[in-house]
Amino acid sequence: MSDSTELLRMYEQMAVIRRTEKAAYDLFLAGMVKGTTHLASGHEAVAVGASAALRPDDYVFATYRGHHHAMARGASPEACLAELMQKSTGLCKAKGGSMHLTHAAGNMLGSYAIVGAHLPMAVGAAWSARLRGTEQVAVAFFGDGATNIGAFHEALNLAAVWRLPVIFVCENNLYMEYTPIAAVTAADHPAADRAPAYRMSAQIVDGNDVIAVREVVASAAQRARAGEGPTVIEAETYRHYGHSRTDPATYRPAEEVERWLKHDPIDVARARLEALGVTPDTIKDTDERASAEVAAAVAAAKAAPAADIAEAFTDVWADGGAAWRV
């Protein structure tokens, strides 16, 4: 694939993710999505760039802010929206919801809503890959806020001691929920500055540049597959919406928001496409295809049947049931 074809593919994936999340937001306002939702708009390049660097059989673990990761690993916009809309066709049969999007068919093994909890899981998946001799890599995506929780420390240490093929990708968007990460972290780069404590190498990357992300993840994956151990990547990015749907994000300085909105990952990719000579028409076609895909997904999700109440009592155990007694 030529550079521009591959980039165009990534651009389209980002465009689809962006539109899907916008649709989710609008469906919220229309009362068709309930519960809580954490949009990743602004973070698309991290998911798409990383995915482009990975093999289909590599493992991905994400957080409650994980729509982009599910879709980057192949979950359809329709299944994601159906999940949010409590439809039986939802990615997790409407039992998980926005915070737990999972697409095991794409080895995207879950979105976890307890900050940091999935980091040891990714270490375990990498350990499993080593044990099975598959050269698979495991990637954990997490927020800047997750770098202060105990599980982060335990995961990084174990990964380093066992030299496991795991990549820790921090999406540093400068904020936890409403509190700036700088106010509660004794490090400038909450992830990268901690890597030396585990004799681990770290890369800081523009998380809004899909190519840059792809490169840095590709090289970490290569090292991992070669048995050279784990890497920390800190991707600098920004969320376009508030923390969750109820958050207007007034705690962020207007100037900061503006600066980051000007550095939109989709714009960055578009500029790169243009520099590679892709025509405005081609880009427009791509945008339109993305819009059409998401519009169709919305329509299909709306038309899908509501979650099946019987599903409340399935899937606890591997036999499919929920019996706790004999």
């Binding site: 926005s98 307890i114 936890m176 409403y178 106010a183 509660v184 929920a322």
Partner: protein, 332 residues
């Protein structure tokens, strides 16, 4: 912003949390709050709204996402002259600092032969029904009940929030204070200054003669709704709000069962290892002769909490389920 609102009339459960804390902070300068986003943001549930403005950063501390450090630091501070009020944002996250609740805080007084006390409050948003999914919806008051050495509070009304918060903060023992997410928007009379509800006193919130419905926090409202419906059938249900799990007011429960001869517990925690089981086991021991019928427990199903409303409703206790349980024992 003028700090915590103190006008009279009605108050929401959510406001009552901040108000209850503020009243104690005004009384006692050693009361200090810490937690994630509790400061300028006023908490994710706005249950600390106004505190930062009134008391400032020396008394309202925003923390990193470090549940162990929050609760562990609260413990260290409590041992050394401070009365910390630590927030764990969602009660599910108590699992992230469970060592402190299970092994450290409740045991240190005993294992040092009484040398240290740990006067602290751990507040947390508990319970489901809001579509937050399996990791943000649990009612985990029964986790705390498994640990001797913790006092456990779970109020059902704004007035009780304030009255029990006063007792919790003044208590020299560690208290886990469960605020129910589903009740935050509910309203009730604002209690007068100085209002105070002793820990370990259940309330008979509705008198009745045919069956005792024993409830806690959110399920008090479920039980009351069921009692209304049962009244239409001519069944007179007494509703007891347990208010605290520890101290457990079994005197009030046994007295109610003595009157009604029938007991149905209404619990939000899962059936397996729910608090109602412990109450029932005491009743069937000490009050066996009082009982005229099987004891039923309406509790959440033994499954993780699903996301979709309809599924969540299916697995959580509802007035319908309580009515059905009562009817099934009424004919004995």
């Amino acid at each position: 912003m003028a700090g915590v609102k103190t006008d009279s009339g009605t108050i929401t459960y959510r406001e009552a949390v901040a108000e209850g804390i503020a009243r104690e902070m005004r009384r006692d300068p050693t009361v200090i709050c810490l937690g994630e986003d509790i400061g300028p943001a006023g908490g994710v549930f706005k249950t600390t709204a106004g505190l930062f403005e009134e008391f400032g950063p020396q008394r309202i501390w925003d923390t990193p996402i470090s549940e162990q450090a929050i609760v562990g630091a609260a413990m260290g501070a409590a041992m050394t002259g401070i009365r910390p009020v630590a927030e764990i944002m969602f009660s599910d996250f108590l699992a992230c600092c469970w060592d402190y609740l299970a092994n450290e805080i409740p045991k240190v007084r005993y294992m040092t032969g009484g040398q240290v006390t740990v006067p602290l409050v751990i507040r947390t948003a508990n319970g489901g029904g809001l579509g937050f999914g399996a990791q943000h919806s649990q009612a985990v008051e029964n986790w705390a009940l498994a640990i001797p050495g913790l006092k456990i509070v779970a109020p059902s009304t704004p007035a009780d929030v304030i009255g029990l918060m006063a007792s919790a903060i003044r208590s020299d023992d560690p208290v886990v204070f469960f605020e129910h997410k589903g009740l935050f928007a509910s309203k009730g009379p604002r209690p007068p200054e100085g209002h105070h509800v002793e820990l370990g006193r259940a309330a008979v919130v509705r008198e009745g003669t045919d069956v005792t419905l024993l409830a806690l926090a959110s399920t008090v409202h479920t039980a009351l709704a069921a009692a209304d419906r049962l009244a239409e059938d001519g069944i007179s249900a007494e509703v007891v709000d347990l208010r605290c799990l520890i101290p457990m007011d079994l005197t009030t429960v046994l007295a109610s069962v003595a009157k009604t001869s029938r007991l149905v517990t209404v619990e939000e925690n899962p059936y397996q290892a729910g608090w109602g089981a412990t109450v029932v086991s005491v009743v069937v021991d000490e009050g066996f002769h009082l009982l005229d019928a099987p004891v039923r427990r309406v509790a959440s199903a033994n499954v993780p909490l699903p996301f979709a409303d309809a599924l969540e409703n299916e697995v959580m206790p509802t007035a319908d389920k309580v009515v059905a349980a009562v009817r099934s024992v009424a004919n004995f």
